[in-house]
């Protein structure tokens, strides 16, 4: 039943996204077909893919560190991806997009594992502690990136990577995001293993699971996803926090069963943020990241206060 509602909602959003924008499709001033093919469709697909990827990455991180208040934006992942990108831009400015992407993913993986190593030393009694540690960790990495960019006169680039928005998405400039579809498929295969990981190291190992390998796969998917999003549209906070938490409350933590729903809701909510951003100050645009941060922060506060025991404690 809810599936029909979710799919209908998604279809409406996609339609809205195709029709709404600075240029009017009905006017004779632009070639409507060209506009839809080159700009609106790529933009819609990019928002859906980025949102789905961020939401799935959030679900994986939450299971991996067993804390519902953590998301990829709080694990130093985007900042490390930016550090990798910055390094490539400096060392090999002409490198192919795929090379940049691979370096960014690897840097993101290192940064995420850094957070994971750190998380093992954070006491678990207070679930708020780990996201705070992540905030500081990401802040330090981000400061390093900014300083590094400043000395190399690349601060502009960092600004673009930091604020997620879709107005620059055109055909030929977003296709890297399809990597997220591959990552989602990989995640689906590993879904049971990652859910078991969420039971804790002892349970995972006593069930004969190779916990380290599973963790590597999970965090690898997270890193590649975040790197792809940062490279193509810029980082979007809160998506990985809000969407998996809503799905967890609604449908539970079984990743295999809920993976499609997390992906669809993630994609839909980012697309909605993008469409709202196009409408509010028409014909000017507000970045989807800004819109989502405002809505997401509200949702997050509601989540914290609505039923704090369920959301956080054991």
């Amino acid at each position: 039943m809810y599936r029909v509602a979710v799919i209908a909602g998604l279809a409406l959003l996609v339609l809205a996204s195709l029709l709404i924008g600075a240029a009017d499709l009905r006017g004779g001033s632009v070639d409507s077909y060209l506009l839809v093919m080159v700009s609106r469709i790529p933009r819609t697909v990019a928002a859906l893919l980025a949102g789905a990827g961020l939401a799935l990455a959030g679900a994986v991180v939450q299971l991996a560190v067993q804390n519902r208040l953590v998301e990829p934006g709080l694990t130093g992942t985007p900042e490390s991806a930016m550090a990798g990108l910055l390094a490539v831009t400096l060392i090999a400015p002409g490198a192919a997009l795929m090379v940049k992407m691979i370096v960014a993913s690897l840097a993101a993986l290192v940064g995420t594992f850094g957070f994971f190593a750190l998380s093992r030393h954070v006491p678990r009694q207070d679930p708020m502690l780990l996201p705070l540690v992540g905030l500081i960790y990401g802040g330090i990495l981000g400061a390093g990136v900014t300083w590094f960019a400043w000395t190399a006169d690349l601060v502009q680039y960092v600004g673009i990577w930091q604020s997620g928005e879709f107005s620059g998405v055109l055909r030929g400039r977003y296709e890297l995001l399809w990597l997220i579809a591959i990552m989602a498929a990989l995640l689906y295969v590993a879904a049971d293993r990652i859910t078991i990981l969420g039971l804790g190291d002892d349970y995972a190992r006593s069930l004969g699971l190779n916990a380290r390998q599973t963790l590597l796969v999970g965090l690898g998917v997270v890193s590649a996803t975040i790197a792809a999003v940062v490279v193509t549209v810029g980082s979007l906070p809160f998506v990985g926090l809000v969407v998996p938490n809503i799905v967890s409350r609604w449908r539970g933590d079984n990743l295999r069963a809920n993976l499609p729903l997390i992906a669809v809701l993630g994609g839909a909510s980012v697309l909605a943020a993008d469409v709202i951003g196009r409408v509010i100050r028409w014909p000017y645009e507000i970045p989807a990241g800004t819109i989502f941060a405002v809505l997401g922060a509200g949702l997050f506060l509601w989540m914290l206060y609505a039923t704090p025991k369920q959301a956080t404690s054991r």
């Binding site: 804390n67 678990r124 679930p127 859910t195 804790g200 190992r205 006593s206 069930l207 539970g252 933590d253």
Partner: protein, 253 residues
């Protein structure tokens, strides 16, 4: 039979287990008892193969647990450990089904579903099978975790303080079920439990492994190990073992 030979384990320079040698018979229920910090939980994790001792070894049957591959180990011992940091929002059925993971590794067969059904029935979870763990009481949730360990269908079930924070009624209920499981029969399991509650140990255990300051004190049948003198010396406080209606009880004196 589990044979523990000269186990040594230290953490941050502090000895946790020192030269622990013990055996655990394959039939019946074994309780690991001792004061706080005696190394009970560490010993159980060594037996489960999740902690590797710095010296000595644990033999399960003819195999050194440390040399078994993780998949093979998961067919020998099931472990119930402290609850996860957050209660996962899994249905009871999903959780119990994960106990079958070592057998199907992601592709459950009919036999696996049957085993899950059996575990749910055995632990009275049929009415709760679609409930999420975070909506259950502590006792019901613990029963679900025990059922998961049971569904793993291993000859050995290891449980680390399964009664922690449970009301007497639920604690009793779980001990009864584990005790019944450990009686000889076609589907009998060898059960090893780290227990804080000496009353439960006196009532249900067949064999006692007692530890103090990381060293073995007793590895003996319950009647031999749980005497007034032994327990008082083990816990450094006056404890008396009495018989009431044919059952042993432990009382502070």
């Amino acid at each position: 039979m589990i044979r523990i030979a000269s186990l040594d384990l230290h953490r941050d320079g502090q000895p946790i287990l020192q030269d622990v040698t013990a055996r655990i018979p394959p039939t019946g229920l074994t309780a690991i008892i001792g004061p706080n910090g005696a190394g009970k939980s560490t010993l159980l994790h060594c037996i489960a193969g999740l902690l590797v001792p710095h010296a000595g070894k644990v033999m399960i049957g003819d195999d050194d647990i440390a040399t078994l591959k993780p998949q093979d180990r998961a067919h020998r011992v099931a472990l119930l450990t402290q609850s996860p940091a957050i209660v996962p929002r899994l249905s009871v059925r999903d959780l119990v089904a994960f106990g079958r993971w070592p057998h199907h590794r992601g592709r459950p067969k009919q036999q696996d579903h049957d085993q899950v059904d059996e575990a749910l029935a055995l632990f009275d979870l049929n009415d709760l099978e679609h409930r999420k763990l975070d909506s259950l009481s502590g006792g019901q949730r613990q029963r679900a975790f025990v059922a998961m360990a049971y569904a793993q269908s291993t000859p050995w079930m290891l449980l680390d303080e399964p009664l922690a924070a449970l009301d007497p009624r639920y604690a009793r209920d779980i001990m009864e079920r584990l005790h019944n499981l450990s009686r000889p029969g076609p589907d009998s399991r060898s059960v090893v439990i780290v227990l804080h509650d000496l009353g439960m140990a006196a009532r249900y255990a067949d064999w006692i492994v007692s530890l103090k300051d990381g060293q073995l004190v007793h590895s003996a049948p319950r009647e031999q190990a749980m005497t007034t003198e032994n327990l008082s010396a083990l816990f450094d406080t006056g404890l008396a073992v009495q018989t009431v209606g044919g059952k042993s009880i432990v009382i502070p004196v």
